[in-house]
Symmetry: D2
Subunit: 303 residues, 4 copies
């Protein structure tokens, strides 16, 4: 199996899919991305890195940041976050407030927006600057000191953030925020506005393919914690299409509206794909097709 | 690692948990089971079988039968069942009709009751006798020709089956049943009333740990189909506690209100545990604790 | 004010509306009605009767029968029915099962299907033949001994009755039916299949405009009961358009999918309109426009 | 019928009920009110005013203010507000966000909080100061120039206003606010914090019993508008107990968490009752009992 060849073939095959779906445009800067961009990168657990297409072009990681803020909180605080957020699939579209209300302010999982706000709030309490902590982790793990928050995107998110503000106030009304609503939102918008390439992200998420071992060789998460982050990614990582993603791709994965998806083959590698046009569930159309082809070609699946 | 020793230890450890939770009692015959029963069986992909506790005592498999009816339908019909049922976690308690109505008669997944009725309906159309087909598969795979439907339990289910009848009529109102409501319900109640031991069930589900290869060595499912049944088990197999089960146990699994749970370590083994007392989500309390300990001790996890 | 002139004008004005909306066609016999039929009848509390258009042509009264089965149960049983059914507007489409499940088997009000099934069940327990009791009341109050159940419509309802069957089984699963599901459904389908003209219905509902006094001059309901039936009609009589109906028409009213609507001006008169084409909420488009014009012209409103 | 005697009797009868229910305490100043306060006032359409108990003691009118902001908007703008808010009973607890989301940002009616925020937003656009407009109307109609906003209550509402802030941001996310969220909330909290006695409120709402004619004898609303405000009060004025209120009291009414209720007998009088202890639906327990007795004794009902 020649990994580079596999990736090159995938890039050729998914090119036509890049025109399917729609680029997220709720904020102007996201909508400006060229829809026919596509990149893929595989970072092997043992260090080798393969890439094809636009794999070194930065994009807005958006919700993929939620994996890293969760991992950080767990690294500091082990398991206490689970008193404030469940870890069940939501079963409903990704920013619904229905369940939050039915469950008295406890979000269904840390990867829907409401849950991520709670995780960010906790990280803010622990570190004093949640977005900087996430950026620090991503710089360290990717080995790229230039990973940065796109200030324009962050400001733009804030301008169009009524729904997240609504959710944060609802959490606060149930007493499930420790910090002022405005500060939590500010941290959240910033962490979502981090810009990274497929290469950066594949390297940065490699600790989840290495049972928690960080780039420097020391444990960032325990093997048990790493396994659990992967479990939450599998059941909750792709909004209300988690079942479909498990069925088609068969790997833990986390997507973002910027069009990126991170997937993990525990013990083997981390993979990042990026294609800006999204399907009806908010996941990259080309990205999912690429992961589908990747698992078919490699035979790598957790099932 | 001495598997027998592991199982013996687990049986000793979970004994006190058997008095936690409540034995399902919506039908009399289920309520009569002694709550301190507990069994565990591991059937290795290569043939060895280990058991401890009440591992050879039959119990009512109930919803675990849904795995086998789904596998049967997929074996005949490959993928067409997915036009009539989704494969997303339900996000709500396991016999809710809310989503069925919101989704215009398409159940969320084949492991909630509504979805299982659709699968049974399809199997009835294909084979003419759905319950007998499931029994046939279970006899063949377990190697136990005496696996049988408990007629008393089946009759009792029918007597207390207003909620399932309600669901079946709702499916019919959306045109999502091919057969008369009464016949579908009859088949469904019978397949749920199959009585099997942990040993029977572990052997019978071993094809899912062998990439679809049946007891006789011939393919029952393709590797791809087997992987997909496992994916659906992971995301949807334990009612609205699928996220929790993935987090704690980290394996595809399917539970039933009789207190049984089947779990799969792809490529390695199938496991069956049985403890009649159920937690608030309808899953065996002792059974989940046993699987938790099993994965901790063996280090076997898909994540 | 010349009542006959008012009615003639209304018939002329609403004629063009008869082609708006759609005739209910879920059962064949309902769909065969000519959509440009329109009738109106006003029965004054003191005995005078006015009619225009197709006011003497019988149509299927459908859900309007629910007013009479409720009145009958209250006449026998005063207030005890309210332990088994609420009297709150449903706030959701008229045959939804969501609320029934959320409220543990207590329907929101007696005019949605679930609630009417409970009322029919009670009437069946009291009289032994619910549909015959309703027919008896309607014959007596309308003075028309030929009011009859359309057997074809009743059979047709039963053939297409999966949704009602689903609801009845759900009620039974919560223990909120006293009689077997099949018998309750049979009674319900029959009472909905009564055929009556605007004239029959206006006369038959006149007791609600006379503080409960029946055609023969004796009390059928107490003034308090009559007032309460009117209150339930106002808040719950027109499915999820009750607020709109109160706003536009300003009278207690009850509609049916056959296109009829009965409205009450307490102390003055009862009104029946009939136009088979229905708007999105299941109410007669021409009928509501006619009632709107009627209240505008007469100035009669409860507000 | 001696009205003063009726009111005195009612005050005596409901006294024991004042200890049932609970005084709203989500903000400190509301919780400080003595629970055994009770007042009632009847303002006849022709000018006479009767009162008993604590009828001249001011209390926080809270949601009763929504009637006046709606009337004001309709007086300026006739019917255009109905493009931004429905007029259907909510069918769910009064501050739920579920329906708001299902209906894409259009609140169910102007008397739930979400709907009132939209009405306040419109009034702010029209007059530049929504709370001052409401205060102006209330001063003019009550003839009491000292009707004032309780600044402490308004500030306290703002401090505890996460749920309303959540709702306002959700409305804004659907484009259903014309003004900045903070300004709308500020106006809303102020109008709810108006302090008035039963006497003030009965006089101020008398125009709804006089077909829209204001205290000065000139039309404030048209007869048709007045009738429609009453219709909305009947179907939506008492949160999710509107059906119950119509059944027991049989009059249009609007309640507030301060314990006040305004009810209208069209053509005859307006009534205000006040008892701070609330039942499970957020309506004054003693107040509803008092209105029940009032309608029973006077025989005044719209049904």
């Amino acid at each position: 199996m020649d990994m580079q060849e596999i990736l090159d073939e995938i890039v050729a095959h998914v090119a036509p899919l890049c025109l399917q779906g729609e680029v997220a445009s709720y904020i102007p800067s996201l909508g400006e991305v060229s829809p026919d961009s596509f990149g893929i990168c595989v970072a092997m657990a043992d260090g080798e890195v393969f890439g094809a297409g636009d794999w070194q072009k930065p994009f807005s990681i958006q919700s993929i940041s939620k994996v890293f803020s969760l991992a950080l909180v767990m690294s500091y605080d082990y398991d206490s976050i689970w008193k404030r957020v469940f870890r069940e699939p939501s079963g409903t579209p990704f920013n619904s407030m229905v369940q939050l209300e039915a469950d008295r302010g406890i979000p269904r999982n840390p990867f829907i927006n409401a849950g991520a706000l709670v995780v960010t709030d906790r990280l803010l309490s622990i570190t004093g600057d949640a977005a900087a902590s996430v950026r620090g982790l991503l710089r360290q793990e990717s080995g790229n000191p230039e990973v940065e928050i796109d200030a324009l995107v962050a400001a733009s998110e804030a301008d169009h953030g009524h729904r997240n503000a609504s959710m944060a106030h609802l959490l606060a009304s149930y007493g499930n925020l420790e910090n002022p609503v405005d500060e939590v939102l500010d941290s959240y918008f910033k962490q979502c506005a981090l810009a990274m390439s497929c290469e950066d992200l594949a390297k940065a998420s490699r600790f989840l393919a290495r049972h928690g071992v960080a780039a420097g060789g020391t444990p960032f998460l325990s093997p048990n914690q790493s396994k659990r982050v992967n479990a939450v990614m599998l059941t909750c990582g792709t909004y209300d299409a988690a079942g479909e993603f498990a069925y088609r791709v068969g790997l833990p994965g986390k997507s973002g509206v910027g069009g990126g998806i991170v997937a993990i083959v525990p013990g083997r590698c981390s993979i990042t794909v990026w294609g800006p046009a999204l399907g009806p569930n908010g996941n990259s159309v080309a990205g999912i097709a690429a992961l589908d082809e990747f698992t078919a070609k490699t035979g790598w699946s957790i099932f």
